[in-house]
Symmetry: C3
Subunit: 482 residues, 3 copies
């Protein structure tokens, strides 16, 4: 090891011999991620020290850490060599058995509580939930299908794996499989690597080559795994964007978002636990939905959860109507009274068997109210939620009205119900709940009022219904004239 | 008072005994706002000291401060106990007579000049201006009305108070009234509180339970009342957003906005007065529209105003055409030559009696030019405004063309003029001026050029007119075929 | 010179006597730009010192600097007095011969390499490319034409110079000409100044009064000329915005953009050269497209270029289909096999003669891969580009399908092919490639996946095609019924 190399590792307490070898080579081949890791907490502390932190400050949640990992920094080799026999993407890399993909099951070694919680969430099943649900699967296929023209007709050529991978699975996750190995040319010469299918992908419901579900990197991106990045709404924004799930835009346009945008530079984004009023002065996505937040004197307001959605009582995201949160993250198991894989029937009746009950809803609302209570009085919070209840009811009503028009369309044979997403009026119905009604409900919940009015708000909600009505008249006339 | 409590107040010079009691309890019940206040200027200086600052640095504008408030920090009790007899929302709260809502009339105690200016602005009458103007009232009702389906027909169920509260009144303000008291369950047991109607609401034209108009908190949010937040465009963005009033997006996409986004971290956001080139290096919303700005050696470029709009000579926001700024903030008083409550007739003739005259327009343009002059030469500024004049004329022409098509629609009985906002072609007419023409004018005024071209710009302005034309043909044919 | 003046220049090593005179007056008349310059690098270093920096750190690229400029700071006079005989905008200004506009040809004195590179780029010809190409010229005219109504007909009044100046030429640049001089009233009395036509304008392809092409100020805005601003994506966003070229939004919504938004405050935005992992931890627009980037130990990953586009092998921006980058910045010279000034024929056949060949494409892809390689392994990069290839093919197919429908429209006489952009179905065709197909390709290239799915993505790509189909049916029926 030359002087430069010594200097490189001098700031790092204990690096394994394997990781040193990784770093010395990857400092040349992929310098950015090495720098990223060098700046990370993983490079600066050993699990042994991390696990001894006071409870509220602990970022390592496992009760114990395997002996071999305890006293070295969390480096390349430590993460990329976990559970090799489970990893179909494990390969011999210059003498080391390396997994290409570090999966939640690997992160679990130190972060078992978070991985355990995540595995219960809808996120962990985000791919299953759109693949195994035949209706959503049809939606995915329909929304990404290439077309060609024959004469005057649009011919559906179907949806490629690539289109699905880039459109829907980019957030929902792909099933990454391994098709043997292949030789690739690199700066270090030709090497054999696993031939990964449906890769790259960082979706939250990714099914990994070790069979695990989920990905930690969408929110904790490689290789700094910075809690600051995970806590910033920009990160959530990669998937939670308008027009379908306008979480980020609604937040950004709310008073809470205004304060975040204006004052974030003074916040302490790295502190664990996160102190209300001291480390942050307005809620962000994670403050309400998953962070451990405490008062200035360390009283716990809410514990950390990585079961996203578990603090929330209602699912604003209508399918096609809003509904109580599902009991299980596996929403593909849900059936409505008509046998369709939806949490509500077309007439609005809920699939209650699969959804949390009123008591659980109230319990969760009280959890959420504790967060609001940091800054708002009880009556203001109660009234805020009452407004939201009315808005939910009214937007569901508007979605139901669209459904009623759609039923007419089907009953009169103007469009064909076999695929409810592929014809023009059907797509307006889809917009009604998927874009407009959702947007208004998100706006109401988070106080992003422009999204209630003019940004996929009431303006579009009403206009869309009128246009459906008009399209029916035109379709009828076209049919009559045929 | 125990050691912790002593330490809490040690950094604060003089806190009233009442506020101490508030803080000690609310530190438990609503810790975030207490921290926010502790970080605020209000907690760090007494009015007595604040009023003695040199003129340009003064943030307190009243000539004198009531004796009782002079020598204590501006705490919970000082603000929430003002003018109790005027406050229908005053209630007994653990032995203190507390107002739930602190109104501009209360802030006026120390900030009389700002409140006085604000009370003249359109903002102060933002609710009146859409409620008392029958045409705009119809627009509000129409844009937020729930619908149901009967057979093939869309039935209008009217607009709920809640929908209006969340959509239009969220920015314009609600009328907050008090319906006696009610008992609520809190962390401190059951307590009696005023039963507020149309609450919560932070709209700029809110009518408060003390009868005052307006709200300071949309721009100076509780409880830091930070001038940094008020000055940052994010705060203006809560209401001034596309598609109807795209001030924020146009600014963000302009060169001025690029510089703000890139360099804001080096600006001095708290300095009073605000020094051009030193404290900020590009205009923001408030630089042009209301801040006190000075040169590096404290020469005043523009004095502060809270009469928003008073530096502006033209109202780009067409109703349905752009027009000179109204003389009074009470725009609901305006009538056009046909008796409609609009600043222009449908044929474009202005309601000049209610609008500022050419001289006043030129005076205000010169005020605005002084801001531009900080960085731009006279000829560039003159030419910029000339471009804008042409753009205003052309977009008004395009709105007029839409009106002419609408008149045809009405005259031929294709749609019904009794409500000009509720049918399909009427809504396209609304879009023409409310979204597209406005957007282009904002883009021209502030140099956000994409909004002139493709983002509700000329592209949509022309397309919308063409679609109106096409809809007329289709409607005619549908009528013929009936 | 009084004490204040002495203090003003004390921080600046060597200011020319001429610049001192400029500053002393402009400190009064335009204080903001003087402050901006005082904070700039130009005021803090002489070219003599700048040119002696080590190669990688040099910001001055000319081999030698004219004697007169070498030992004084780069001040007002130094820039605004260059090449006066070439400048039709040169005028006598209080005894000095001053150019209003500093052009790339002036900046070239010190920054010759950058100006040389820029002069080869499409940016330098951005105005020519839409003015001298008759098809794009028609598009410009069509998109900005004012309309009036006669009876039921929309009458085209043509496009004003002003509308083009504000819409298209704001990014593409205007031809700034000089129409003699005029007298204007300023704070310093009436003065004679050049009468500039098509001014102000900061478009990248501006044709300047000295005959040079381009503008440096869109990215290096006056008068700080900050490299930080030039490097920040906000600056690129002024032109590269949805719906037509959604570079900024796609980036912002990508993982790279998330990291930029979250961590930019810790980056070193001013360092030259720019060190991957040290100065920045995620790519930005300039990292990939033009900055000099090096490793932590100063190994060059990519040299700086101001020939924007020269690292890129494919032009995602379809006209109407994506194609290899053009060989020359003068794209107006391109003709397709049918004689149309397009890089592809309507049937998709490429105008290969004008486009870079496969070898050059591969060379450039390898350049770009070197940037990716900083943080990603070879296989991931290869697979990323393979996905992109498929997406390009599929979206071009979808644009071709729209073209096929358009040909039907023309062949059946439903719309008139003489202007392919002015009728309703034609405009849908335009949207298909100009907005939707482009957006998906940008999304694929940069990992902004919402733009592949729902934001001018597959959702709109398919819907638009369906709507074209429907419009054909309606148009046919309307024709039949005439």
């Amino acid at each position: 090891m030359d002087a430069e190399e010594k200097s490189l590792f001098s700031a790092i307490p204990d690096v394994s011999e394997q990781t040193k070898i990784c770093v010395l080579c990857h400092k040349e081949s992929t310098p950015g991620i090495v720098e990223d890791w060098l700046a990370s907490r993983h490079s600066k502390i050993t699990p042994d020290l991390a696990i001894k932190k006071p409870d509220l400050e602990r970022r390592v949640s496992s009760d114990s850490i395997p002996e071999a990992l305890r006293s070295v920094a969390v480096g390349c080799y430590e993460c990329h060599s976990q559970n090799p026999s489970a990893h179909k993407d494990n390969f011999d890399h210059f003498g080391f058995k390396i997994n290409v993909i570090v999966s939640p099951n690997d992160c679990k070694t130190c972060h078992s509580v978070e991985v355990g919680q995540y595995s219960l969430s809808k996120k962990a099943y985000a791919l299953d939930n759109i693949q195994k649900n035949p209706l959503y699967h049809t939606l995915v296929e329909t929304l990404t299908s290439t077309k060609e023209i024959e004469g005057n007709d649009i011919i559906d050529l179907g949806s490629s794996e690539n289109a699905k991978l880039e459109a829907c699975y980019s957030c929902h996750g792909s099933m990454v499989t391994v098709n043997g190995t292949k030789k690739i040319s690199t700066g270090s010469g030709d090497i054999d690597v696993p031939d990964l299918i449906n890769w790259p992908n960082q979706g939250v419901g990714r099914i990994n080559p070790d069979g695990s579900r989920g990905a930690c990197t969408p929110c904790h991106p490689r290789h700094s795994f910075s809690i600051e990045i995970a806590r910033k709404p920009y990160t959530c924004s990669q998937c939670h964007l308008e027009p379908d799930v306008p979480g980020f835009e609604v937040y950004k346009d709310s008073k809470h978002g205004n304060i975040f945008s204006s004052k974030q530079h003074e916040w302490n984004w790295d502190n664990v636990p996160w102190r209300v009023g001291k480390d942050f002065t307005a809620p962000t996505c994670t403050v309400c939905h998953n962070s451990l937040i405490v008062t200035e004197d360390n009283k716990v307001i809410e514990p950390r959860t990585h079961n996203f959605g578990s603090r929330v009582w209602v699912r604003l995201f209508g399918l096609p109507y809003s509904h109580p949160q599902p009991k299980s993250g596996k929403t593909y198991l849900i059936k409505n009274k008509d046998g369709l894989p939806l949490p509500a029937a077309l007439d609005g009746e809920l699939s209650t068997e699969y959804l949390i009950d009123k008591d659980e809803q109230m319990r969760r609302q009280n959890v959420m109210k504790k967060v609001c209570q940091c800054c708002h009085n009880t009556d203001l919070i109660n009234q805020h939620f009452k407004k939201m209840d009315i808005t939910i009811a009214e937007t569901d009503k508007m979605a139901l009205s669209a459904t009623q028009l759609l039923l007419t369309v089907w009953n009169e044979g103007l469009e064909d119900r076999s695929n409810p997403f592929d014809e023009m009026i059907e797509r307006r119905w889809l917009k009604q709940w998927f874009f407009n009604a959702n947007s208004i409900r998100f706006g109401s919940a988070m106080g992003g009022y422009d999204h209630i009015a003019f940004k996929n708000g009431w303006f579009q909600l009403i206009e869309n219904l009128q246009e459906m009505r008009e399209m029916i008249d035109v379709k009828k006339m076209l049919k009559k004239m045929e």
